[in-house]
Structure formats: C-alpha cells, structure tokens
C-alpha cells in the first residue's frame, strides 16, 4: 500500500526507476513513453506509438515549459527521456537532467573542452546515449565521456583523436550491447575519420573502422597518391542497428579537400557512403557509395532509416535514404544491394543512376550552376518513416543551386582544407531575425515519399529552407520546425497544416515525443531553448 502511494506521488513529478538495459534498447518501441536513443529506437524511424495528441486535438497543444540553455551556440540536440527524467546536451557539451514534466533541473554536468577545437559548422552537439545508469557523450574536442545518469558525475573520459588537427564529435553515440559506437568529424580540416566502439565500463577501444582505408586495406586504391592521408569521411550523425543482422549502419561524410576532386582522383572510398559493420568486430560487411569522387560536399550524413518492405513480392529488409546529392534510395540492408533510386529534388549533375545505383555524372564547365546546392537536397537533420502511412518523410531543400571555384588545397595541420570555394544564394548556416530569403535561393519543403516509387505524394512548401528533422506519431501527426522560427504539426497523410507555434528562433534540431503520467509531450530545441508541449486538457 505504501508502495502504491509512493508511486502515485512520484507521478506528480518525475522519477527514475530501473536501468536502461540493452534489452530495453532492443525493444525501445515497446515503451513509447520513453525516448531512449537519438532517433527513438535502433531502426531510426523517428516514429512514436504515442497517440494522445491527434489531428483532431492538436490545436489544443500548449507550451508547458521552456528550458533556456546557458549557451549561445546552436541547439541541435534531441533529448532522451527515461521514466520522466529528460537528459539533453546544452551546447556544446554540458549535460542537463530535467524533470520532463516541469522542465526543472536535477543536475548539470559541465564539460570543459580544449581551446584547440576546430569544427566547420558550429560548436554543436546532437545528443546522448544511455546504457544502464550511464550517459555517453561525444565532445567537440573528440573525447567520449561517460557520466553517471543519477548525479552527473564523470566516470571516464577517453580521448579519441587530437582536436588540434580538426577532429571533433557532434553526434549522439550509439549503444550496441556493451559497446559505445561513435565516430569523428572534421573533414573540412583534412582529418582521416574513423568510427570506433568503446567498452561501456572502461572506455577502452574495442574496434575501429577507418573511413579512409590506409595502404594495404581494401579501398585504398581509390585514392590517388597520398591523398588518402587527409581524405575526410566524417561521421556527423548517429547510425542505426539491426539486431537480426547484427550490423550497424552509418553514413560517411565528404572527401577532402571538399571542392577540388582533381587532386584526389578515384572514387575516394569510403566517403559519401552507407557502411554496414559487424557490431561486435567493426568489420565491414558492405558499403554503398552514393557520390563517388564527390566535388560538392555532399556527404552522406543522413540517419539510415531501417524499414521492412514488401518489395516485388518478397519481404525485404530495406534501408531508406534521401541523400544530400538529391537522390532518394532504397537499399537491401542485408547485402547493400541497390534496389531503387530517383531524384527527390531538382538536380542537373547527372543523367541518372546505373543498374547498381551509381550516378552517371554529366560534364560540368568550371563555374557552372549545380543543382542541388552545396547544402544538398537534405542534410543531417532526421527524416522519419511512419509504418502506419508507409511513407518516408524528409526535410528537403528544393531548387537550390551553387557554383564552385576549384583550386588546389594545401594541407596544413589544423587549417581549413577546402580546395576552393562556392557561391550560393543560400544564406549562412545561422539566420538573423529578419528573413532575407528570396525565391532566387529556392525554397524549403517537407516531402512525403512513397518508398516503392519515390514519388512525392504531398509537399508542404515553406518560404525558407529548414534544418529541422521530422517526427511522426501513431495518430498520423508529423512534427517539424525550421529556420523561420515555427514549430508545426502536419497531417502525415495529407500534409495539411494543423497547428503551428512561434518558437522565436531557428529550429535546427529534430523533434521527439514522450509521456509522463497520462500526458504526451512533444519537444524540440529552437534558438537557445528547449520547448515542451502537451495538450491543454489532457488530464
């Protein structure tokens, strides 16, 4: 009886019961009240079974609380939630534990990064991983740290690489079994990136996969001379995992120098790839390169979305991927075999894909306009797949373009290694309070794609482009934000706008949802704040 009373009391606020075991991570979808990984679960569909908020009542959404970050850096994190406690990174690398119901703080962990940090695109962090009672975070100075989830104390700190050379980590780690998988970024500084697994208890490296193969390794022959030494291949976002294949899937970044491919002749493996690694050993099972010999910075830093589909009469373990190069792909995730691909945005750099999915490039004159632009058809922000609608949703940059000035890139440790420059009407990554976006730069859109045909079934057009990911729910709602400072809900079947809220700053993050007690919440970071919404009359 006493236990029952205590439980009821805890519901008044929040409490943490039970460790987050690997078993719970495997079946994260069975506890939709929690959000246990960056993308919600291992399949990375960013889809929730919660359905209290519906198309019929979404207009009743109220802002419940705001957490203001003590930071002016971009707030790109997706929180995780465990039984009423929310953990989120305050940029760049502080961790805060919040009561998910009220937004009040339990504790703050402050990480002091090195002054040698060099990251191309902001001192950002996209989230955390959890196993047992331990949180894991990659840092902008290329460390992996383990933090006690109950009191915010540092348990171990492992340096992965030298940040003075441009190495850093921005994505949330992925926990598989007793290992923490994390990769390095910094391709714009001529790093040679890698993905590695670390023992959850000790922080010691268990395996390592080099994104740029060295001498004697398969794929090394795709690099001219010693160009492999500074080949890039960053890991910017979190990968996925399929326990039935025991493979972990990740996207790799662009080759370096970014815009001068003539000084690194060859396909430049394993840049711009989807890679499938044995989760126990890190051994490469297969790879699929989206953009061989890339000269446009079209890294494949998209979250691999794992979906089982009926494909030509058979059930296939598929992977859906809208790539920065402007193509939408369906791959067989057991073999890496190309199943299907088609453009989802305007593009002019190729004449299509061959039977193996390799793009057939068109010759381009120096300074010619290239569609899509440098930022691509989409980028690092998460797409979503709804098993209810069977549709794949992606934040797209439509009709964007860029022109490139290619020049020799000279590698100097810790300095930018770009190989030229580009021009585009797309404004800088950060937006000011007045939106100067015009039709000339293209436009933004949320697209609903049929995975079987690649056809856009509906498009929600926005004036400006967006750096916000997408969440879908079991009530056929789609949540997303954008650069214009709105957070809104669309009908996942029609794209109709159902609700919107002015968050007052760019939403450059992907939304998530959770439940505390009887209430479903939806949360997104925007500007320098984290916003949590729930229905006005849900109790």
């Amino acid at each position: 009886m006493k236990c029952a009373r205590l439980f009821l009391c805890f519901l008044a606020g929040g409490s943490l019961f039970g460790q987050v075991s690997y078993e719970r991570l495997l079946h994260a979808s069975r506890e939709p009240q929690n959000w246990l990984t960056y993308s919600g679960n291992y399949s990375s569909q960013r889809y929730s079974a919660l359905n209290q908020i519906t198309p019929a009542n979404v207009k009743q959404l109220d802002l419940r609380w705001i957490f203001q970050a003590q930071s002016l850096e971009k707030f790109e994190a997706t929180p995780i939630v465990v039984n009423g406690v929310m953990y989120v990174t305050q940029p760049p690398n502080d961790i805060v534990a919040l009561d998910a119901k009220t937004g009040r703080l339990f504790w703050v962990y402050q990480y002091h990064s090195s002054f040698g940090v060099r990251l191309c695109c902001g001192l950002v962090n996209r989230g955390l991983a959890i196993l047992g009672n331990t949180l894991f975070m990659g840092t902008i100075d290329a460390h992996l740290v383990a933090i006690d989830a109950k009191n915010g104390h540092l348990l171990w700190n492992t340096e992965l690489a030298d940040c003075n050379l441009g190495y850093g980590i921005t994505h949330a780690p992925l926990v598989v079994k007793d290992k923490i998988i994390v990769g390095t970024a910094g391709g714009e500084y001529g790093i040679r990136s890698f993905l590695a697994a670390y023992d959850a208890n000790s922080g010691k490296q268990v395996w390592r996969f080099d994104a740029i193969p060295g001498p004697g390794m398969p794929g090394h022959e795709t690099w001219q001379g010693d160009s492999w030494e500074h080949g890039g291949g960053s890991f910017w976002v979190t990968g996925s995992y399929d326990p039935t294949t025991n493979l972990t899937y990740w996207g790799t970044g662009n080759p370096g120098p970014d815009w001068n491919p003539s000084q690194r002749l060859g396909d430049n493996l394993y840049t711009d790839c989807a890679i499938a690694l044995d989760a126990d050993t890190g051994k490469l099972k297969w790879f699929f390169q989206f953009t061989p010999h890339d000269g446009s910075d079209w890294d494949s830093t998209q979250v691999p979305v794992l979906v089982d589909l009926d494909w030509n009469g058979t059930r296939r373990k598929a992977m859906l991927w809208a790539n920065r190069n402007g193509f939408f792909y369906v791959l067989d995730r057991e073999t890496g075999r190309f199943l299907f691909g088609c453009p989802f945005v305007k593009q002019n750099w190729n004449s299509g894909l061959d039977a193996n999915g390799r793009p057939i490039p068109l010759p381009a004159a120096e300074g010619a306009q290239v569609n899509p632009g440098n930022q691509g058809g989409t980028n690092w922000y998460s797409p979503s797949y709804s098993p209810r609608t069977g549709l794949f949703y992606v934040t797209a940059w439509l009709d964007t373009f860029a022109t490139y000035l290619r020049a020799p890139g000279k590698y100097e440790p810790g300095r930018r290694f770009m190989g030229g420059s580009y021009k585009s009407p797309v404004p800088a990554i950060r937006r000011g309070p007045i939106n100067t976006w015009t039709e000339k730069g293209g436009y933004g859109g949320i697209l609903a794609l049929d995975p079987h045909t690649g056809k856009t079934l509906w498009e929600f057009k926005t004036h400006d482009v967006s750096d916000s990911g997408i969440l879908t729910t079991a009530s056929d709602l789609l949540f997303t934000g954008g650069r214009e400072g709105y957070f809104y809900a669309l009908h996942a079947r029609t794209g109709a706008l159902l609700w919107k809220f002015t968050v007052g700053g760019t939403a450059a993050a992907s939304p998530m949802t959770y439940q505390v007690g009887d209430e479903q919440y939806v949360a997104i970071a925007a500007g320098h704040c984290l916003f949590a919404f729930a229905l006005r009359n849900s109790l």
């Binding site: 606020g13 929040g14 009561d99 339990f106 402050q110 002091h112 460390h143 006690d148």
Partner: protein
C-alpha cells in the same frame, strides 16, 4: 533493535556525506559564492592546467605553485594576465578565459601554496581501505561509480577541497553542513513519506535524489508537508578513528581528483 541500529548508522553516514559536500567560505563571500569559486577554479585548473602543471602545481621544471612565488608575477592581476596571454617562447599557451574564470583559476593556484603532499602524514591505500571498509563511508558516499547516492559523490573531492578542510570536516562535521544539499523530508497528502537529498528547489517544486539514486521531482502544492532537515547528522570521526587512521582517510580523500582523460 537491529533495524533501529541500521537506521542510526544510515543517519550517521548520510551526515558524513552531507558534510563532505561542504565548502570553505572566504571573507566577503556568501556561502554559495565560495562554493562556486572554489569548485570552478579547481575544475578549470584540472581541465586546462594540470596536464602540464600537475595536480599539485609542481610538474613544470622551475615552476612550483606551492612556493607561492612566481618569476613573472607578484599580484593576482599579473597571474591572470599570464594565464590569459601565455608566455611567448615557452610551452605556456594563451587561453581564452573570461574574467570570472581567470579569478577562479588564480584563486585555486594560490590555494596550492604550502601544499607538499609527500610531507603529509597518512597512507592513501590504507585510507581507501578505511573508506570502503570500517569507515562505512560508501554506505552513503559514492566514488568512481561505486557506493551509495545518499550523499554527495566524492570522486573529485580532493580536487575541490583542501586537506585542512577535509580533516576539520571529519572531526567537526557541523562546519560543512551545506544547506543546498540538506535532506528533504516530504509527506504526501495521503501520508506517505519521501526523503532524499535536495538537488534543486523553487517556489513550486523540489528536486531530490533518494538513497537508491532515484531522481524525484515533487510538486509542493501536492504535498502535505515538507522540510529541509537542518544540521549535519553525521558524527565526528575523531573518536571513531585513531589520529593515524584519520590521516590515512584524509590523504585518500585528497587523492580523489576525478576521472582524467585517457
């Protein structure tokens, strides 16, 4: 009876925990100010300085913070400028600290004056044995991922507290009673009792961590009563341990500098 003894023991140990979370207060500072300055300076020093200068400030040849004398500085302002600008032609790099951070670091460097760990009495290993054994410290405290959440985590207590302070606190726990970390005892409308260490509080809510490590957020309007239990419930270790054992324990506590980068 056995139950009662266990309760008493737990109370004692929780007091130890709360007391060890205490902080020294400098003239002109509020209690919270001193906590922030001492901890911030130590954490910044161990994040940015200790890799070269060492945890005791004596690892760079010719530079020994323990002496209190500096070749190129005499005032705190001088020291702050060196930390900020570095020393050209040496391995001392410029840094990008703000004013409050500089003051905190220099404050910590000053606190190292007179420190000679090798001359300290006691034995770190014996102290650890006491801490993990008959001292019963881990019934409330936690170090490097082991122990209880009932009291403050001591994994880096040696980084943020002086030897003198640690010793005084073990003898007289009252000096380290930290209001911020006091135990909260709350009663729900139906009479259930919830207690734990205070992590955060505002007009309408309370955030605590209970002895099992559960993070609990309470809405005050839904509580019948709640109170912060004043004072330290920890007994003095003056008579529980011999002077030599106290030295061992202090030395062990001072050796706890938190996890370092590998």
């Amino acid at each position: 009876m056995r139950y009662r003894n266990r309760m008493l023991r737990t109370t004692i140990l929780i007091s130890l925990a709360i007391f060890l979370g205490g902080a020294e207060q400098l003239p002109g500072q509020t209690h919270s100010d001193s906590v922030i300055t001492a901890e911030a300076g130590a954490r910044l020093y161990f994040a940015y300085c200790s890799a070269c200068h060492g945890s005791e400030g004596n690892s760079v040849p010719g530079v020994d913070f323990r002496s209190g004398k500096f070749r190129s500085a005499s005032s705190d302002d001088d020291l702050m400028l060196i930390v900020l600008r570095g020393i050209p032609g040496t391995a001392m790099p410029p840094n990008n600290f703000g004013g409050s951070e500089l003051r905190a670091i220099v404050s910590y460097i000053r606190s190292l004056q007179g420190l000679h760990l090798e001359a300290l009495p006691g034995d770190t290993h014996r102290g650890q044995v006491i801490f993990e054994g008959r001292g019963d410290c881990m019934n409330c405290h936690r170090v490097n991922g082991k122990g209880s959440y009932a009291a403050t985590d001591l994994s880096d207590i040696g980084m943020i507290r002086s030897i003198d302070y640690l010793k005084k606190s073990l003898i007289d726990p009252a000096i380290s009673d930290v209001p911020e970390h006091r135990r909260i005892r709350a009663t729900t409308q139906d009479g259930a009792v919830i207690s734990g260490r205070r992590l955060n509080e505002d007009t309408f809510t309370l955030q605590i961590i209970d002895n099992r490590g559960n993070l609990i957020s309470l809405l005050k309007p839904k509580l019948k009563t709640y109170e912060a239990v004043k004072g330290s419930t920890m007994p003095s270790y003056q008579n529980r341990l011999s002077p030599e054992e106290l030295d061992d324990l202090v030395r062990y506590l001072y050796s706890l500098k938190g996890a370092t980068s590998k």
